[in-house]
């Protein structure tokens, strides 16, 4: 019977539920698009390969990042460490080891110049990072070890610096040192916090000695032949490093061994925190929606005092009146929630479609739990914010209500 009132007041019923529609819709969109973005980030990290192990200089405390990431320069990791790691009898499951140094310098070609990130690498970089050269060739082993003057451009750097001209064979300068461009990398997209397309690659020894003026390396990445061999290899690496650095036990370690599953876990923790933060902001709009419903229901009770009096005269008890108004509010809120879910799911699907069209590795994630929780929340909001107006209605005296004009 009470539902007929809602139908008769279609526009008002819809406006009343709008707060809930928007609130539930945005929670669904944020949770789903957040999960999609998370999948995008994790997919990009894993595209490098999940069987990577990194050796970083400096000990990292449990649950905190390695010191080198925090900007502290630690010089304990060297190229000869990387060479030792690459020996089959030391780490039998290592396929390749890529020692690296990193820096940021001005690179100039003719009268164009700009600052770019650079990496000093060996020929093993493309094997370990699972990347390829689009044009020309990569840095050779000989160049890497003997201070060769070759240079490989990331795809974006090639565009920025050469603006459509063929860079192969051209000479660029870094800190007064001339390098010959020998290759351009394939476009890769950013992986995690690293953008391979926006950097250049130099031979390791050249970058160390002529550009940075150092004799240590910032990281050694090791590709393991199979995921199941990662843990034994980590044990091998730790044992080797302790032996080489004469470290008596894990407490005195001057290095950190990490693998990409840890990086994925860390990224997931961060992105989860962002998602829940955004979802809780959206959830606050639900409270506002609920107050909107309560407001309208108080007006509705006032408008229908005479009806309430009549129903009481015809035999409605206080509980009948209470139930009627709580039911109306709950239905408004629940229908609003369902419309919100439909809208939120549609937007999430749309975002996923567009992201896929744009070439992102985006998963559409809509969990049944989030739909069930949204439905129950909208039901509860109706119940909570409906009770006060309904109580007010049920307390009216039948005679006063009937006389009300």
């Amino acid at each position: 019977m009470s539902l007929q009132n809602l139908k008769a007041n279609k526009l008002r019923s819809f406006l009343t539920m709008l707060g809930i529609v928007v609130g539930i819709g945005s929670v669904i969109v944020i949770v789903s698009v957040g999960a999609g973005a998370q999948s995008l980030i994790v997919n990009q990290v894993t595209s490098v390969g999940s069987n990577l192990v990194g050796v970083l200089p400096g000990k990292s405390e449990k649950n905190s990042p390695p010191a080198s990431i925090m900007g502290i320069k630690i010089t304990t990791l060297t190229f000869s460490d990387a060479q030792a790691l690459a020996q089959k009898n030391n780490v039998p499951h290592a396929v390749a080891v890529s020692p690296m140094v990193r820096g940021y310098e001005q690179i100039s070609w003719k009268n164009h110049n700009n600052y770019f990130n650079f990496s000093g690498v060996t020929d093993k970089y493309i094997i370990v990072q699972n990347v390829a050269v689009a044009k020309g060739r990569f840095i050779s082993e000989n160049e890497a070890l003997n201070m060769g003057k070759s240079l490989v451009l990331g795809s974006q750097v090639a565009e920025d610096l050469f603006q459509g001209q063929d860079p192969i064979g051209e000479t660029v300068k870094i800190k007064g040192v001339s390098f010959q461009v020998v290759g351009v990398m394939e476009k890769k997209g950013s992986a995690g916090f690293e953008n391979q397309d926006a950097q250049v690659f130099l031979p390791l020894a050249t970058a160390q000695k002529m550009i940075l003026g150092i004799n240590y390396i910032t990281v050694a990445r090791i590709k393991i032949d199979d995921t199941k061999n990662i843990q034994p290899s980590i044990n091998d690496i730790e044992a080797l490093m302790r032996a080489r650095h004469r470290i008596p036990g894990p407490d005195q370690d001057d290095f950190t061994v990490e693998n990409s599953s840890q990086a994925i876990a860390a990224l997931t923790t961060i992105t989860d925190a962002i998602r829940y933060f955004l979802a809780s902001i959206a959830a606050m709009s639900l409270v506002v929606g609920g107050i909107g419903i309560m407001n309208i229901m108080l007006v509705v009770v006032n408008e229908r005092i005479k009806e309430i009096g009549l129903r009481q005269a015809l035999g409605a008890t206080k509980r009948d009146i209470l139930n009627q108004f709580v039911l109306e509010t709950t239905v408004v809120s629940l229908v609003g929630g369902i419309i919100g879910i439909a809208g939120g799911v549609s937007i999430s699907v749309l975002v996923a479609l567009i992201a896929k069209k744009l070439g992102y590795n985006w998963d559409l994630v809509i969990s049944w739990q989030s739909l069930a929780v949204s439905t129950s929340i909208s039901f509860l909001i109706g119940l909570i914010f409906g009770i006060y107006p309904a109580k007010k209605a049920s307390r009216l005296s039948p005679m006063e209500a009937l006389r009300y004009e």
């Binding site: 019977m1 009132n5 005479k306 015809l314 035999g315 008890t317």
Partner: protein, 242 residues
Amino acid sequence: MDLIRLEQITKNYGNPGSDITTHVLKGVTFSIQEGEFLSIMGPSGSGKSTLMHIIGLLDRPTSGKYFLRGEDTSQLSDDQLARLRNKEIGFIFQSFNLLPRISVLENVVLPLSYVGLSQAKEEELALKVIRAVGMEHRINNMPNQLSGGEQQRVAIARAFVNNPSIIFADEPTGNLDSKSGQQVMSILQELNHQGHTVVLVTHESATAEHGTRMIKIHDGKILSDEPIINRLLADREGELGK
């Protein structure tokens, strides 16, 4: 046993925070027998509507006793009173009080919705009373599509769909033209004839004289309480008859 017995009923209204108290009823005593058609007549402000609200269990007296079938109603809770109204009492109002957004049939079903019958049973009972007031061709119409007389006939159908023992009518012809008024009075007389006790509140003696007994009330007190000798009989077709 009396169907209804009132003993020294008073009703005062006072505004909270003010010393002024209005004495609307000043000690009213009378009883109503089953099968009576009682007209309560008095000018506006005489207390007749307040009296009807009290007899109709919509309001409680300030003092005095009200027995319904020998039971003291002052001992009953609000919800017990609501159930008693649903079972024993039907109301007809001057302004009809149909719910505007629901159909004729749904309006008549309303009192049954607090009983707990099946929908089929509810509609069967409602259709029976709608036919009795001659409104069966309008069951799916909305109240605002009906004339005043038609609306009041629907309201009467709603008043006796629960087969109550007493029907209260508060100025039922007040908003109607004389022809529609005659039809309404005729239906009330017919219901009374079928055994329902009817209590009519009015300020017009021509309407009051359709009853079998008349109580005149003035200034909160009963002036007279007499049987009606020359009772008016309303014509269903709307013609005046004796």
